[in-house]
Subunit: 247 residues, 2 copies
């Protein structure tokens, strides 16, 4: 069972104030990069794992997806998603991503934004993803970058020469990381980039793109504070496709 | 033209003293992990890019490879390689990896240990690799990990709480890194992990394994000083295979 931090009132209230909650997909700096990994959505059966307020589900619906379903563990999120999606043919369902129950070969695209790092057993999750993908189906997801998640003290350091650095340690020590972000005791699971990719490969997915997100020059001009993102990546964006056969 | 640091007398003399120079493959802590990515070598045509003293070429020959060729830019290395390989059917040739001239579809396995991070144009290198691989052919290589290469000051820091950290910065700033290792002014090229993998994929290779090397428990017992390798990866090991067709 995954920690349901989004139904914690303090966390939920803080989450509501984020740009990505108030402004949707365009409020997320990495959205343009994630969107670039998507196939054309028209006619596709689309599943969003950790759909939150349903921003992506509504985007997929507007792009002409044939069927759109959003799953989330948080009742708060689903209630808001349903409210914002009235009169749209989108299915929202409460499911814990660590206990997915999905029909076989039922989906052309599985999408997930910043949800998988809350899941302890990534292999089990990927087995469920592969089970649910139709032949040639795609997985596009983002997670917090392992460089961002790994440190025991994830705060910028200024060294004696005035140089700002990210104090990386424990990178190879996989497992839980507890941080205080919006609320105390938010539980995430750190995995190396190698483990994440090898899990996809071993489950039968072909890795098609690996992006360690950074702001573009166009984004840096109005947001100079994002320059620190050039020192260490915060988000990891991955595209993969169900293998059509072994070499 | 690649900097030929191995023919610098100071560098070469220092390099000669390393365990991996004195003891060969088994003197390199990451060798067992790299070997695990190799296919059975018997009958294969094997090419080693940056073959150094020829340790891997002799290993491939002993494993029954059908044809073994080692390329290196350093005359010092090649001379020693030839001397150590007398009476073995191994071809050594001087070539700059940035200006490779290889026959098409002539190789079943291209291997490279800790050489590609000296090459500025990785895309050109991978195009040459793909050109030289026979259908189903494999690429297995190691490089210094981008986390290890990126920092402007790549030295461990001890923070106010006595915690050892790796001062990561400039991760997204790809390009030259000059370090003083064995000799002053050793020139390497930093690329993000994403760039390395996407280059392989775009050149038509399928990524089959990505390993951020760490010492095993068996290695840590006699080498407790390697424990810092758990805080940040030093080596990146990659396996890839020539695509047999697009999805």
């Amino acid at each position: 069972v995954t920690q349901n931090i989004y139904d914690d009132p303090t966390f939920f209230s803080g989450y509501n104030q984020l740009d990505r909650s108030k402004h949707g997909l365009d409020g997320a700096p990495e959205w343009a990069s994630l969107r670039a990994l998507l196939p054309p959505l028209a006619g596709l059966r689309v599943l969003d794992l950790g759909c939150g307020f349903g921003w992506f589900c509504r985007y997929a619906h507007a792009q002409g997806a044939a069927h759109v379903m959003g799953l989330d563990v948080s009742e708060n999120m689903l209630e808001r998603a349903r409210h914002m999606s009235e009169r749209l043919e989108i299915t929202y369902e409460r499911q814990d991503l660590s206990e997915l129950d999905l029909p076989a070969a039922s989906t052309d695209l599985i999408y997930s934004s910043l949800a998988f790092h809350y899941i302890e057993d990534f292999t089990a999750l990927m087995k469920n993803v592969v089970h649910a993908l139709a032949p040639g189906g795609r997985l596009v997801f983002s997670i917090e970058h392992p460089i961002y998640m790994a440190p025991s003290q994830p705060d910028w350091q200024i060294n004696a020469d005035g140089i700002k650095t990210w104090p990386l340690n424990s990178y190879q020590i996989e497992g839980p990381r507890t941080t205080n972000w919006l609320a105390n005791g938010v539980l995430k699971y750190h995995r190396t980039l190698g483990t994440t990719l090898n899990t996809l490969i071993q489950c039968g997915l072909r890795v098609t793109h690996v992006e360690e997100w950074q702001p573009s020059a166009e984004q840096l001009t109005p947001n100079p504070q994002w320059r620190e993102e050039l020192d260490r990546p915060m988000f990891l964006l991955i595209g993969a496709q169900l293998d059509s056969g072994r070499l």
